[in-house]
Symmetry: C2
Subunit: 164 residues, 2 copies
């Protein structure tokens, strides 16, 4: 179990990843995976850049952690992610047997940890995940709000016709 200071530290690292996504015009979501106090996997959403639907922050962090440990099992790891995981990423986290997840903002439309489903607490599956929600929620959410506001603003500008 991480201390409050560690939790803040690692979520800030996930936020750095999310900001990198925003810089590349990707929906700003970031994730890191920690093992024995070391970050062994990190990722940010790169779906648009690579046109690959599986390139969510969590999946990329999991891929990297699998390589680092040379194991598909991430049994002594913690995952930190700025947004509540979707169905796909929740499934990957469960498949990898990650025991603990910390996330920032809730995702009412697609979140599968608390919002639409409670996949990580399904006793029928052979693995359950301890989840801590709302970690640094405000900055995680703000990053997303700013991103979508900028998209809407850009669309509006594109509709304007020059007066000449």
């Amino acid at each position: 179990m991480a201390t409050e200071r560690e939790i803040t530290f690692y979520m800030k690292e996930a936020l750095k990843e999310a900001r990198d996504a925003a810089l590349m015009n990707e929906v700003p979501i970031g994730a890191v995976i920690v093992h024995d106090g070391q970050i062994i996997g990190r990722g940010h959403n790169m779906r648009e850049r690579y046109q690959d639907v599986t390139y969510h922050a969590e999946i990329l962090a999991i891929n990297e952690a699998n390589q680092a440990l040379r194991s598909w099992r991430l049994e002594n790891c913690e995952l930190y992610v700025t947004l509540e995981p979707c169905i796909m990423c929740s499934g990957a986290i469960i498949n990898a047997r990650i025991p603990r997840v910390y996330y920032g903002a809730a995702d009412p439309k697609a979140g599968a940890v608390h919002s639409l489903y409670q996949l990580m607490n399904d006793q029928r599956l052979n693995h359950q995940v301890e989840v801590h929600a709302g970690i640094m929620e405000a900055p995680c959410q703000q990053l997303l709000k700013d991103f979508f506001r900028a998209i809407r603003r850009r669309k509006k500008i594109l509709k304007q016709k020059p007066n000449r």
Copy 2:
């Protein structure tokens, strides 16, 4: 909508993939993705070989199809897979907006299409999937049964002590 003959043809291709997995000592599950009558993505479970938890048949087929179409959206595609998709793969299929899925055997322990969840028919999500289950169910299931029987047999042999 594929004809019955086409459905059988593509599921046989998915079965070929599954057999390749078995040859490599991976749980025999295979998948293909079809677009305009062409297979544009194929994959079989390679989790053990690469020690990557996301290397399920469906994910690998989706990655390949994304590359083939240079798009994360697989809107005019059909996915054929020998086993009912898990949570992770169902999420990936929904995220990719694949409109139609054909699967072979049910997976009572981890299936997320009919068995544990009905993720592909959730009206709260922005995409629903038309699903056809039980396609060539017998050979899809037999392949898995043979695989797990061989594993159990191997374990038994390993326990035996030579009489000398």
